[in-house]
């Protein structure tokens, strides 16, 4: 099964980091990515630009409305994701626990990806 690991952390914290600290965190992420690529669990993974760059669109009264910012203001923001291949939830959780965010005070939401028939 494929599992989406949504990475949530406080963006503000990222900005207050020293350059050296930021470098260490980046290295930790690169190490994690490399290890799951090597073990064959990695399917995808990206880092997102901060929510200050987000634009949200939705329909209101039959019109598409575009607004500045993320869809909801939350204490922790979606900052990136991994898609990991795992035999079951236990394996997915074990892998997700190693995402550096977990020990850096953030949270990972693990969601299975639904298998859909390929688009024709």
């Amino acid at each position: 099964m494929r599992y989406m690991c949504l990475i949530y952390s406080d963006e503000g914290w990222r900005n207050t980091m020293s350059e050296a600290e930021g470098g260490r965190v980046l290295q930790e992420f690169m190490d994690f990515t490399q290890s799951v690529v090597k073990s064959g669990h990695h399917r995808a993974g990206e880092r997102l630009a901060p929510t200050s760059s987000a634009t949200t669109i939705r329909t209101k009264g039959g019109k598409v409305v575009t607004t500045d910012g993320p869809f909801a203001e939350t204490k922790e923001q979606l900052g990136g994701y991994y898609i990991l291949e795992a035999a079951n939830l236990d394996e997915a959780l074990k892998l997700a626990q190693r995402i550096p965010t977990v020990h850096l005070g953030g949270a990972i939401e693990v969601r299975p990806i639904m298998d859909m028939p390929p688009a024709k």
Binding site: A87, N88, D90, L93, R111, P112
Partner: protein
């Protein structure tokens, strides 16, 4: 005119009774095996219901099969295949997945493996499920309790509980919660959850909060069986031993705990010759093994308390000082208001009712047990011992308003009548 029903009628009635008994005893373990074979909770449950419905038709007429368990598993497997075919027909793009299932289900052996029950309980008690869903799912699947019984036991509306079960089963399937006993490094955390649920199952059987029947011996037996399996699989777990000891020691008093009218008999009034000495000896040996195995956990300490009670030949000979000391240990391990309530009762027995009442007053003031009927019962009993009968009567009244279990209500009514008679 003969008043006897037709012979066939008697036979079919007997077969139905037998099937009902079989259902209650075997539902959980058969379902556990079916889930392993079929790989889907919902489909396994539906197919098992189909198989039992068919048995209800077939067994009274043709007689109970030589191996009823294998008959049910085999029938349920075929019913599952029917359902898979129907689903695949309706939903063509899933045909490939369904084919994989079908091959697996068709080639399976109709053997009920006891280990499957353990896989099932670890799955039901997975931390990715909400705690209340873990308990509900275990009672529904392993113990075969109905949704209504579970809802009643937990004072939850039936639709709420039904929804809780559906959501839990959907999550098991969609999130890929594995159906297995966890790997050794996951054991400690996962075991705590399982032990809690097993003990809850035992308590459901021991003091069934729903309906008239006070003791559902089969549930206790099921919990004990699960407890034994855990002890076997985890020979070094002191808490698995502690839990089994606790359940055996309580269960040993089962026959003395209920009078001929189904009324509850208090520990001090029980006819101790009716206690199951064999089971007590087994329980005490397990407590000792558990305490030797390492620092005591909450189950081992509770079992030790039960063991001290079991060792007293009469209620008067009970070593209350030791019991009060053990409750002191238990409060430090498990600081819950119910444990504190029991500690207060033990202290009252060891050091006098005034000392116990002090502890109960503190507990009452905190308000955490405001809907728990045993708090006013405990207060009432101490007040009665102190000769404060009007206050005792008021507390029994309060308890009556909170108690829902019929035998317990009758017991409280009797105590209220006693204390009211003393008032006149």
């Amino acid at each position: 005119v003969s008043v006897l029903p037709e012979p066939g009628g008697i036979l079919s009635h007997w077969a139905r009774m037998e099937l009902g008994d079989f259902y209650h005893r075997r539902y959980g373990r058969i379902l556990a095996t079916l889930i392993r074979l079929i790989g889907d909770f919902e489909l396994a449950e539906e197919s098992l219901q189909d198989a039992f419905a068919l048995a209800l038709e077939a067994w009274p007429a043709a007689g109970t099969p030589a191996n009823p368990e294998a008959w049910i598993v085999s029938t349920a497997r075929h019913k599952a295949i029917d359902r898979i075919r129907r689903r695949a027909f309706l939903d063509t793009h899933r045909a490939e997945v369904e084919h994989h299932w079908r091959v697996q289900v068709e080639s399976a052996a109709d053997v009920v493996e006891p280990e499957d029950s353990l896989s099932l309980i670890f799955t039901c008690c997975h931390p990715a499920l909400a705690p209340e869903a873990q308990v509900a799912l275990t009672l529904r699947t392993l113990c075969g309790l109905s949704t209504e019984e579970i809802a009643h036991a937990f004072l939850v509306p039936v639709p709420t509980l039904a929804q809780r079960l559906v959501r839990a089963k959907t999550k098991i399937r969609d999130a890929g919660i594995p159906y297995r006993v966890p790997e050794s490094h996951d054991y400690p955390a996962r075991l705590d959850a399982v032990l809690a649920v097993v003990y809850l199952v035992f308590n459901e059987g021991y003091s069934a909060s729903f309906g008239e029947q006070l003791v559902r011996a089969e549930l206790c037996a099921e919990a004990n069986r699960l407890g034994r399996m855990l002890v076997e699989l985890l020979p070094r777990s002191t808490e698995a031993k502690g839990l089994l000891a606790l359940m055996l020691l309580h269960d040993a008093r089962r026959n003395a705990r209920v009078d001929s009218d189904g009324g509850l008999v208090r520990l001090e009034d029980q006819e101790r010759s009716r206690w199951d000495r064999g089971q007590i000896a087994e329980g005490i040996a397990l407590v000792e093994a558990s305490l030797r195995g390492g620092p005591p956990g909450p189950y081992a300490v509770q079992a030790a308390i039960a063991a001290v009670h079991s060792e007293a030949r009469t209620a008067a000979e009970t070593d209350w000082r030791q019991i009060a000391a053990l409750y002191g240990v238990l409060v430090s391990l498990q600081p819950t208001p119910v444990v504190e309530l029991n500690q207060a009762v033990a202290v009252a027995m060891a050091d006098g009712p005034n000392r116990g009442l002090e502890l109960l007053d503190r507990l009452t003031a905190r308000g955490e047990l405001s809907s728990y009927h045993l708090l006013p019962v405990a207060r009432a009993e101490l007040l009665q011992r102190l000769g404060r009968h009007p206050e005792a009567a008021a507390e029994f009244q309060r308890a009556l308003a909170l108690a829902s279990n019929e035998p317990e209500r009758r017991h409280i009514e009797r105590r209220l009548a006693e204390v009211s008679a003393d008032l006149r």
